[in-house]
Amino acid sequence: MSLAPSIDTFLATIEAAAPIAALRDSWIAYPLVNAAHIVGIALLFGAIVPLDLRLIGWRRETESVDRLSRMLLPVAIGGLLIAIPAGLLLFATDARAYAAAPLFQAKMVLIALAVGNALALRRIDWRTTPARGRTAFAGMASMCLWLSVIVCGRLLGYIE
């Protein structure tokens, strides 16, 4: 998918910026940023899956959604806040190619859907609302969406 000329110029400027060029050429910084991206994803996915499983109803007797989310949500959000800047840096090193890649575009849409789903769940007061039905569906959607985000990100590195 080709990009509009103005976007292309803008992304080329980002690619050419000195810190981004240094990252693209560094033997150590690039893999470290890569590692940070993975750590962020691990925290996010690792925290969100138990929460989603609980929303679906698994082990509902052990802990309330309210208490569980107080523990796991900060970890998931922290993971996202690590994964996003690291991901932006990786994107910037080859911005035009990523932006034009259908898999990358799909990944961004999926992230937006997953975050939107999480924000919608945030609005629910779990102290008064039992987790079943629609919330179970939302938990299932959350797991599927984040898994799809990860798969898209990986395929991006291997499919051409």
Binding site: R24, D25, A100, L103, G157
Partner: protein, 123 residues
């Protein structure tokens, strides 16, 4: 569940739509046979995870994967030496997909001088 079906279809379409950023690690995707190719650099992209050149050859345009910056530098190659218009002879391995004009360089020869990206590998 309908949303998921739509999503899955979208993902498959996305995957089929081709991304220009694929990185090939290792050699498992290439044939074991030594391969050589000569041509002229058409365009080149340096940097992590590894450099990629488009090479104009008598058999059409080829994609040649070169090293990440430290490997190219270790071989004695600079970005100046791989500018568009430069004539190159590339030794390495081609993709195991027979119809794919894609190879990974082990050794690059410029004006008769060899630059060995993988000194440990026969090339």
């Amino acid at each position: 569940m309908r949303q998921f079906q739509v999503l899955a279809a979208g993902l498959l379409l996305g995957a089929a739509g081709a991304a220009p950023v694929a990185a090939h690690h290792g050699w498992a995707w290439a044939t074991a046979e030594e391969f050589e190719l000569s041509g002229t650099v058409k365009s080149v992209r340096h940097g992590n995870p590894h450099g990629v050149m488009q090479l104009s050859t008598p058999s059409g345009e080829w994609t040649v994967e070169i090293g990440q910056p430290w490997r190219n530098a270790q071989a004695g190659l600079t970005e100046q030496m791989l500018r568009p218009g430069t004539r190159l002879l590339i030794h390495g391995h081609r993709s195991a997909r027979a119809n794919e004009r894609l190879m990974k360089a082990e050794r690059i020869v410029i004006a008769g001088k060899s630059y060995d990206l993988y000194p440990d590998r026969p090339s």
